[in-house]
C-alpha cells in the first residue's frame, strides 16, 4: 500500500487515507524523502484527519520523517490529528514537541508559509 504524495507549487501535500500499518508507514517515509529530494520542496503538509490510531511505532516513524525532512531543508506540518488520537498520544507520553500542527489542510498551508517566512 502506497500513500499518494501531491505537489502544489513548492509544497508537498499528503492526506493519509489508509490504516497505517508498519510497512505502509516505512514505505511512506522512503517515498516522502525521495519526493522531497527530486522536487526540492520546502514544505510538507501531512493531513492525518482520517487516521484513527497512532501507536508509539507509527509516532516514531512520523516524528523521524519530520527530522529527516528538516535535514533536507523541508518543513513538515501535521494537520487534522483527531481528538481521540491526540489523547492516546498524550497517554503514551508522546508530545511531538518539535512538529508544528494545524487544524486542517488550509490552516496547515498558512502555518507552513508563516514558519518558512520566519527563517
Amino acid at each position: 500500500m502506497r500513500i499518494p504524495i501531491l505537489k502544489l507549487h513548492e509544497y508537498l501535500l499528503i492526506s493519509v487515507q489508509v490504516e497505517l500499518d508498519d510497512q505502509t508507514a516505512m514505505q511512506f517515509q522512503e517515498d516522502l524523502l525521495s519526493k522531497i529530494h527530486e522536487s526540492g520542496a520546502t514544505g510538507v503538509v501531512l493531513d492525518l484527519t482520517s487516521v484513527d490510531i497512532i501507536d508509539s511505532f507509527i509516532a516514531k516513524v512520523l516524528g523521524d520523517v519530520v527530522s529527516m525532512a528538516d535535514l533536507m531543508g523541508a518543513k513538515v506540518v501535521f494537520t487534522g490529528i483527531q481528538p481521540a488520537v491526540s489523547m492516546t498520544l498524550i497517554d503514551l507520553g508522546i508530545h511531538l514537541q518539535d512538529v508544528p500542527t494545524a487544524l486542517d489542510l488550509e490552516q496547515g498551508l498558512i502555518k507552513l508559509r508563516r514558519e518558512l517566512e520566519e527563517k
Binding site: E19, D21, D22, Q23, D52, I53, I54, D55, S56, F57, A59, K60, Q82, P83, A84, V85, M87, T88, D91, L92, G93, I94
Partner: protein, 133 residues
C-alpha cells in the same frame, strides 16, 4: 456474553493490525466511547508489537469481565519469549532496548485502568482491563 470473546495469534507484522482491529470491534460492541476505543486499540497495538518484536510469537486474548464496574474488557498478551530483564526499568518512560520510543509499556498502563505484568525467562504475560463507565 461472558468469558473469552476472541483469541488472536501474533506471528507476523500484519497480525498487529488484525489484533487491534479485533479489539476495536469488541470495544465498540461492548459500548465503549470512541475515545476509549482508540485507547484500547492503541494499547493492543503496543502489546502485540512487543510480542512480535521481542518474543517473535504469542497471542492476544479478549475477555469480558465483571468487577469494579459491571462490564470490563480484559486483554491478555502472552508469549513464551525471553522475558523482560528488568521489569521496573521497562515501566519507565523512554526505556527501550531496541531503539524504540520506550513509550509502550508505561503508555499501556496509562491508557488502561488495570495493569498487571509477569515475566520470567519462560515468557511474558500482561493483563490489562478497561472498565466501561
Amino acid at each position: 456474553m461472558k468469558g473469552t470473546l476472541s483469541n488472536v495469534p501474533i506471528a507476523k507484522e500484519l497480525d498487529i493490525v488484525g489484533a487491534r482491529q479485533t479489539g476495536r470491534n469488541i470495544a465498540t460492541e461492548l459500548g465503549f466511547s470512541s475515545v476509549d476505543q482508540a485507547r484500547i486499540a492503541t494499547a493492543i497495538s503496543e502489546l502485540a508489537r512487543n510480542i512480535y518484536l521481542y518474543a517473535k510469537k504469542g497471542e492476544i486474548t479478549f475477555q469480558q469481565v465483571e468487577g469494579v464496574a459491571p462490564v470490563g474488557l480484559k486483554i491478555i498478551a502472552k508469549d513464551n519469549g525471553p522475558g523482560i530483564k528488568d521489569i521496573s526499568k521497562s515501566m519507565i518512560d523512554g526505556y527501550s532496548t531496541s531503539g524504540g520510543l520506550g513509550a509502550g509499556l508505561p503508555g499501556v498502563k496509562r491508557l488502561m485502568d488495570d495493569f498487571d505484568i509477569m515475566s520470567s525467562d519462560e515468557g511474558t504475560t500482561i493483563h490489562v482491563i478497561k472498565w466501561l463507565r
